[in-house]
Amino acid sequence: MRIILYPTRGGQKSYPNQDAVIALAKKWKAKLIFLYISNVHFLEKLGPVRHTKVVQNELEDMGEFLLAMACERAKKAGWKAQTIVRHGSFMEIVHNVISEHQIDTLIIGAPGSTHAATTTDFLQSLIQEIQEAHQIEVLVVQDGDIIDP
């Protein structure tokens, strides 16, 4: 069974992309994994350092909830999905999860009208790096459409 990994932040603007990924997983009869990656880099120049751990825990809880909502969308569309919540660097965690779960297809939200977790430059380098490191298929989803980069 093919395994699809889709990292998402779970906001309202990512719903069309989530729906597109769910539809694709259903079409391929693939196992779908939603991945939420939190990081607290925004605190570096900002608040009290003591809050880092508190914010990290809160973000992880929030990530679980956001992915539970994504799973509900999948369920409504007649498909099942799994979730993974991790904390740290986006690139590093995507690499790890691909290896740990023998991912066949990685789908990444493109920056632009959607609020994807990536920027355009970062997306290009990510695709290249993932393909070279894991030899897996990488697709891009933008505004509810899946594109082969």
Binding site: K13, F42, L46, H51
Partner: protein, 573 residues
């Protein structure tokens, strides 16, 4: 049977109480020159052009005919500007020299009548002397350092603590090394800089950090947010108003940064589950948290700063600010309802059972025992603030006692509690006090005070307006802590020079201006930024423009209400 931690607590308390008299008697009483030394005393007092005491001026007595020789007596002006020269004998001619960095030197020749009086009574009091400021190279360097620190903080080029430390280091380096080339470069030395640190602020902030660290882990914030959701029965506007009210109260009792840090994730989840834009719940919360904190001494770091400097206590803030803040919050609620009316109509319907259960799980009290105990201690700490004011105990004392009782009673991991104290913030305060001290030392603050004084004259209403609306406008872009720290000496001056200002109304005006101004722009306050950081992590970023559209009108609505309230409260018309 008494619970063991309580036994320990009482044992330690008794030990400390027993120790106090021992220390009291062991320490020798202070000695005063005039009581213990014999000789002839010349006394005086130094003030600056604003009537503030001039501290650390060097005063020396010379025999005019032998100027090149050493002084026959030396002294330094004290905290109140007073000084005492002790002469072994009364020469035929005496001149008193007064030297102080950043002031014009003065020389007073004592006349024959003065010397006769000194000889006969052993005491001569010189009339109060006003020293004139001089603009030195150090003035410009200190001003440049101060502005650079503010810019580094405003544009987030450096962590605020690093920026403040950089400023303090630059001041010391310039003073230590630059003086070798040109004495006029001198700003202030380390010993003098230490006197500008307000230790009451440092200890109060530190103690409250420990108290908040215990409370924040009990789950009370998340529980309240979930209860707000249940009470609102899916009506977004009701939910938003309850959340606003809670964040305002929580910010007044704890701090707005922590409040928003804990309220944002759960509010975001509730908003998404309801199918509305979660920012329609979260932005009103952050706006309310910035204003709510104004009502108490511990609600905002600026209030702690203002309270400690001006001797304004918990009860004073509560009595003089609460009604104004409540009116401002009511007006804010009205504007928020109007602004988000369309967004709130988008509620998708009921939340699924799975999501409801997840919210319920998240919204439970995690540690009821800790909540009960910390609640009891917190209430007693608040009582301590109020009672302390009556018996001249500074707020830092009940806060430290409260934090200590929590540590003894709850026995949290002490290492974790030590890390809960945010040392970077405390260092930021210390370094900032030094940098502000530097510009105070060279006379920049005096200059600003004089300029504002020229604008407002003796018009108290105008001074309130300048501090609420003017400082409020500045606070939309300048970090409010450095702003409040810089404005405090100015307010000290205005309070001393404007008739009717002795009611401390101008300090309340500064409190309102610095806090309410934080709502203007997204970058106006740390609570705004942490909220934006968290919502970005959930794919719902707050844009600068989106915040501005609601934040700026609300800033000026609340500032004008705050201004009006202070004028009514203090009878200024």
């Amino acid at each position: 049977m008494i619970y063991r931690p309580i036994q320990n607590f009482f044992a330690i308390s008794l030990f400390l109480i027993g120790l106090l008299p021992t220390i009291w008697f062991a320490i020798p009483p202070p000695t005063y020159a005039r009581e213990t030394e014999s000789g002839f005393f010349i006394t005086g007092r130094l003030i600056d052009s604003q009537g503030q005491p001039v501290v650390a001026a060097e005063i020396s007595a010379h025999m005019p005919d032998e100027k090149e020789k050493e002084a026959i007596a030396k002294a330094e002006s004290q905290e109140d500007g007073s000084w005492v020269l002790v002469l072994n004998h009364v020469p035929e001619k005496v001149s008193v020299h007064i030297q102080r960095y950043h002031f014009v030197n003065q020389e007073i020749d004592l006349n024959t009548a003065d010397l006769v009086r000194l000889q006969e009574t052993s005491m001569l009091r010189i009339t109060e002397l006003s020293l004139e400021r001089k603009v030195t190279a150090g003035f410009w360097i200190a001003t440049a350092i101060f502005i650079i620190v503010l810019l580094l903080i405003a544009f987030e080029k450096l962590h605020s603590t690093t920026a403040a430390l950089l400023g303090a280091s630059a001041v010391f380096l310039v003073s230590a090394l630059g003086t070798a080339f040109d004495p006029s470069i001198y700003i202030l030395n380390f010993e003098r800089a230490l006197t500008y640190i307000n230790w009451e602020v440092i200890f109060l902030v530190m103690a409250m950090m420990i108290v908040v660290a215990v409370i924040e882990e009990t789950g009370i914030f998340q529980w309240t947010a979930f209860q707000a959701y249940r009470l609102s029965r899916g009506r977004s506007w009701v939910l938003a108003l309850i959340l606003m009210a809670f964040t305002a109260v929580a910010s007044a009792l704890l701090d707005n940064f922590t409040t928003m840090l804990l309220m944002t994730p759960i509010s975001l989840q509730i908003g998404l589950a309801l199918g509305i834009n979660p920012l329609a719940l979260i932005i009103p919360e952050v706006l309310a948290s910035n204003v709510g904190g104004i009502t108490t001494l511990i609600g905002t770091p600026t209030n702690i700063l203002i309270g400690a400097s001006a001797g304004i206590g918990f009860y004073d803030f509560l009595v003089n600010q609460t009604v104004g803040v409540l009116i401002a919050l009511a007006a804010m609620s009205g504007y928020v309802i109007w602004h988000y009316r369309k967004e709130w109509e988008k509620v998708s319907g009921g939340i699924s059972k799975t999501l409801y259960e997840k919210l319920k799980e998240k919204g439970r009290i995690r540690d009821p025992d800790a909540l009960k105990k910390s609640g009891v201690v917190f209430v007693f700490t608040l009582i301590g603030f109020v009672v302390g004011e009556r018996i001249h105990v500074v707020p830092a004392v009940p806060a430290i006692v409260g934090a200590t009782v929590l540590l003894i009673w709850l026995k949290p991991d002490i290492n974790r509690m030590i890390t809960a104290v945010d040392w970077t913030t405390l260092v930021f305060f210390m370094a900032l006090f030094m940098v502000v001290g530097a510009v105070q030392e060279v006379g920049l603050i005096d200059l600003a005070a004089k300029s504002i004084s020229q604008v407002v004259g003796e018009n108290l209403g105008l001074a309130i307006f300048v501090l609420v609306i003017g400082v409020g406008s500045l606070s939309t872009v300048i970090a409010n802590i450095p702003l409040a720290a810089s404005m405090l000496p100015v307010v000290d001056f205005l309070t001393g020079s404007i008739p009717g200002a002795s009611s401390k109304v101008l300090y309340y005006a500064l409190s309102m201006g610095t806090a309410m101004g934080g709502n203007g722009f997204l970058i106006g306050g740390e609570a705004n930024l942490v909220t934006a950081g968290i919502t970005t992590q959930a794919g719902s970023p707050i844009s600068f423009k989106e915040f501005l559209k609601i934040g700026l009108p609300i800033t000026y609505i609340t500032l004008f209400i705050g201004n009006l309230w202070l004028m009514i409260r203090f009878g200024v018309f």
